[in-house]
C-alpha cells in the first residue's frame, strides 16, 4: 500500500495513472448525478412548506459542501507540502483552488436564487452564513492571485500554503455560522435524523456522492496539468512530448 502511494507521488507515474483514473470517477459520478436529478426534480414529492422551490437543495447543498471540501483539500495539501516537502502535494493544492472557487460561486448563486422566493431577498448583507461563504470566495480569489503574482513556484507554493492555512478559520465559521449566530439560513439538516424525509434525503445523498466523484475527476485532471507544467524541464516530459506517438 505504501509503495503504491509512493509510486503515485512520482510525477511521471501520476501523469499516466491520473488520465486512466479520471473517467472511472467521472462516469459513475455523472450517472449518479443524472439519476438523482431525475429523482429530485420529478419523482420526490414537493415540500409541504417550500413547495417545489425546495428542489434547489439538490444542487445547492452539494455545491456548498464541495466549496468547503475543496478548501480543506487545498489547505491540507499545502500543509503537507510545507512539512514533508512532497512536490505533488503543492500541485494538488494549486489544482483544488479554481474548482473550489467554481463551487463556492455556485453555492452563493443557487443560494441567492433560492433565497428570493423563500426569504424575499436575493442577498442579506450581514447574514453570517452568506457573508462567510462570500469571504470563502474571496479567499479562493486571493489564493489564486497570490500564486500567479509570484514567479518562483517554490515561493508561491509556500506563501499560498500559509494563506490557505490561515483561511481555515473562515471554513470553521462557514460551518458553524448557522449555530453560533441567528441567520436566515436554516440549520444543518442533511445528516441529522428526523429533519428530512428519507425519500427526499436519498437523492440528496446520491447527489453529494455523485458530485464528490465528479470533483475527484476534475481535481485529478487539474493536478495532471499542474504536474506537467512543474515538470516541464525534466527528462520524462521531454521524452514524452518528443516521442513519435506524442501523448497528450
Amino acid at each position: 500500500m505504501w509503495k503504491w502511494f509512493h509510486q503515485l507521488a512520482s510525477p511521471p507515474h501520476f501523469y499516466r495513472i491520473s488520465a486512466i483514473l479520471s473517467p472511472w470517477l467521472a462516469v459513475p459520478g455523472l450517472v449518479l448525478i443524472a439519476y438523482a436529478t431525475w429523482q429530485g426534480l420529478f419523482v420526490v414529492p414537493m415540500d409541504y412548506q417550500q413547495g417545489d422551490a425546495f428542489r434547489i437543495i439538490y444542487v445547492h447543498v452539494p455545491a456548498a459542501y464541495l466549496s468547503l471540501m475543496a478548501y480543506m483539500i487545498m489547505a491540507s495539501a499545502g500543509a503537507i507540502g510545507l512539512i514533508w516537502r512532497i512536490k505533488l502535494s503543492h500541485a494538488v493544492a494549486a489544482a483544488a483552488a479554481p474548482i473550489g472557487a467554481a463551487f463556492t460561486f455556485l453555492a452563493l448563486a443557487t443560494g441567492s436564487i433560492w433565497g428570493r422566493p423563500m426569504w424575499g431577498t436575493w442577498w442579506e448583507w450581514g447574514d453570517p452564513r452568506m457573508m462567510s461563504e462570500l469571504i470563502l470566495l474571496f479567499l479562493y480569489f486571493g489564493y489564486m492571485a497570490l500564486r500567479s503574482a509570484i514567479d518562483d513556484t517554490a515561493k508561491a507554493d509556500k506563501a499560498s500554503a500559509v494563506l490557505a492555512l490561515v483561511g481555515i478559520v473562515n471554513v470553521v465559521i462557514v460551518h458553524f455560522s448557522v449555530e453560533w449566530w441567528s441567520s436566515l439560513h436554516q440549520g444543518q439538516t442533511v445528516f441529522k435524523r428526523g429533519t428530512m424525509d428519507a425519500d427526499m434525503r436519498l437523492p440528496l445523498l446520491m447527489m453529494i456522492i455523485g458530485f464528490t466523484l465528479l470533483f475527484g475527476s476534475m481535481l485529478l485532471r487539474r493536478i495532471r496539468t499542474e504536474v506537467l507544467y512543474r515538470e516541464r524541464r525534466t527528462r520524462w516530459v521531454r521524452e514524452m512530448v518528443l516521442s513519435p506517438e506524442g501523448a497528450a
Partner: protein, 53 residues
C-alpha cells in the same frame, strides 16, 4: 407542463440546475484549454531546442 412550472417556482428551480450545468462544463472546458496550452508551449520549446542541436 406542470413539471416545468414547478408550482410557480420554475424560473428559480430551472435556473439553478442550468447554472450548475454551465459552471461544471465551463470549469471542465477551462481546465482542458489550460492543459492543451501548456502542452503546446512545452512542445514548441522542445522542438525549437531540438532543431538547434
Amino acid at each position: 407542463m406542470d413539471f416545468f412550472a414547478m408550482g410557480g417556482y420554475g424560473a428559480y428551480v430551472w435556473s439553478c440546475y442550468a447554472l450548475t450545468f454551465v459552471i461544471v462544463v465551463f470549469s471542465h472546458w477551462r481546465a482542458r484549454l489550460r492543459h492543451r496550452r501548456i502542452y503546446r508551449e512545452i512542445e514548441v520549446r522542445l522542438k525549437a531546442l531540438e532543431d538547434r542541436e
